[in-house]
Amino acid sequence: MTLRENLNVIVIDDDYNTVEVFAEFLELSQVKVVGKGYDGKDGVHLYKQLKPDIVFLDVMMPDFDGFYALENIKKINPNALVVMITADLSTETEIKLENMKATSIVYKPFDIQQIIEIIDKLSLKVVKS
């Protein structure tokens, strides 16, 4: 019931510890973390370079934020699977992310099981494409 081990993902967040701990958790869940970045510019650069199956992208980051990265990743690949992670519960942000075709929005602090379910669900899309 899982195809997780076939996935390559990147994790982008301005908080170094969050990136490290989330990456560690993903690796233990059999998901391969091929890149880590700390702002939106890193995210776009890593996407271009590594073409990961899924991008986990923080929204609020200084200088180059998640909106910047999402917009530019979608320019590279309109079908890119980008899971936006944020503590911003505002409707405005939600609508903006929906309009920018974010694959999913996850609110911090997120439930581990829900993240796994999103990964498993997206893994089926990766197999299909």
Partner: protein
């Protein structure tokens, strides 16, 4: 930004607890994550104080946390003494995850059979179970039986409205074939055999082994393009499954074998973790099958009811 710092710390605590739990499962020799857990708990306890302090002090404290966490992680991984913290109930949720698409079932791959022909289902290692349990497996595949369930019980409608659910795939697939004209014929005949040689289209391998990731069932399909050529279902730890668990797992895995992917609705048979009290084949599952065999292989079926 300040709010996110607090949420980041809470997030790290949740992740570390999950890592701790996973490592505990993997090896009883890797310990001492309690150190990290205690540290993050201490950090979380400091959050109210932190929120009241001036920004400069916050930055200094956070810098300390940032510098100390990698060292603590390294310490926990490289030592084998200490006591594990009790496993936290991280799955009970006060957290929110939102899927933008609502409740859906993805369709995936399909069988391309000659109209009217049957798929052969081979139950391998049937001697592991008694006749009653083998009959339960067979019924989950061949039954035509239906039940009516009040929609309010599965959060699909108001009290007093109800939906029909199938207890076996043959009945539901015949219903799908009758209701929907499809581009490819929907398989709805199954020949069940019990052989060790691995012949047949769908192999159900009964295993005494436990899956290390805790899965009860695993379905793997060999495909050519989008067509399924052969499907192999493994049912783990089969001796310790109750009759209802066995029936549910067979229904779920056979859903995959027919081409369905997972559902996003927790009440649905095809949800990745079976949580529903009514794990039967729903009208939504039938619609998804119809869409799949109509060539909508990239499609999603939204469960409106």
């Amino acid at each position: 930004m300040q709010k996110e710092i607090v949420e980041d710390l809470r997030q790290q605590q949740i992740l570390l607890t999950a890592i701790n739990s996973k490592l505990k499962k993997k090896s009883h020799n890797i310990t001492n994550y309690s150190q990290i857990y205690a540290n993050t708990e201490k950090i979380t306890n400091q959050i109210p104080h932190l929120q009241k302090r001036p920004i400069k002090k916050k930055s200094i404290l956070l810098l300390g946390i940032i510098l100390s966490l990698p060292a603590l992680i390294f310490f926990a991984i490289t030592t084998d003494t200490g006591i594990f913290v009790e496993e936290q109930d991280s799955l009970t949720s006060k957290y929110v995850t939102e899927n933008l698409r609502g409740d859906t079932i993805d369709t995936w791959k399909f069988w391309n059979i000659i109209p009217g022909s049957a798929l052969t289902v081979n139950i391998v290692n049937s001697e592991l179970l008694d006749d009653d349990k083998i009959l339960i497996i067979k019924n989950a595949i061949t039954s035509y039986e239906t039940i009516l369930i009040d929609d309010s019980l599965v959060h699909k409608g108001p009290k007093g409205t109800s939906s029909t659910y199938y207890l076996g795939w043959t009945g539901s697939l015949k219903n799908a074939a009758e209701l929907y004209p499809t581009k490819y014929p929907i398989p709805n005949n199954f020949d069940i055999i019990e052989s060790k040689r691995g012949e047949g289209d769908i192999i159900i391998l009964l295993s005494k082994l436990k899956d290390t990731d805790g899965y009860s069932g695993f379905t793997k399909s060999t495909v050519d393009g989008n067509e399924i050529l052969k499907t192999s279902i493994t049912i783990y730890d089969v001796n310790n499954l109750s009759e209802s668990q066995l029936s549910t797992i067979i229904l779920h895995e056979m859903g995959h074998a027919m081409g369905l992917a997972h559902s996003t609705a927790p009440e649905d048979l095809m949800y990745p973790v079976i949580e529903t009290d009514f794990p039967y084949i729903s009208e939504c599952n039938i619609s998804a099958i119809a869409a799949l065999y109509n060539g909508e292989i990239q499609g999603q079926v939204v469960c409106e009811k």
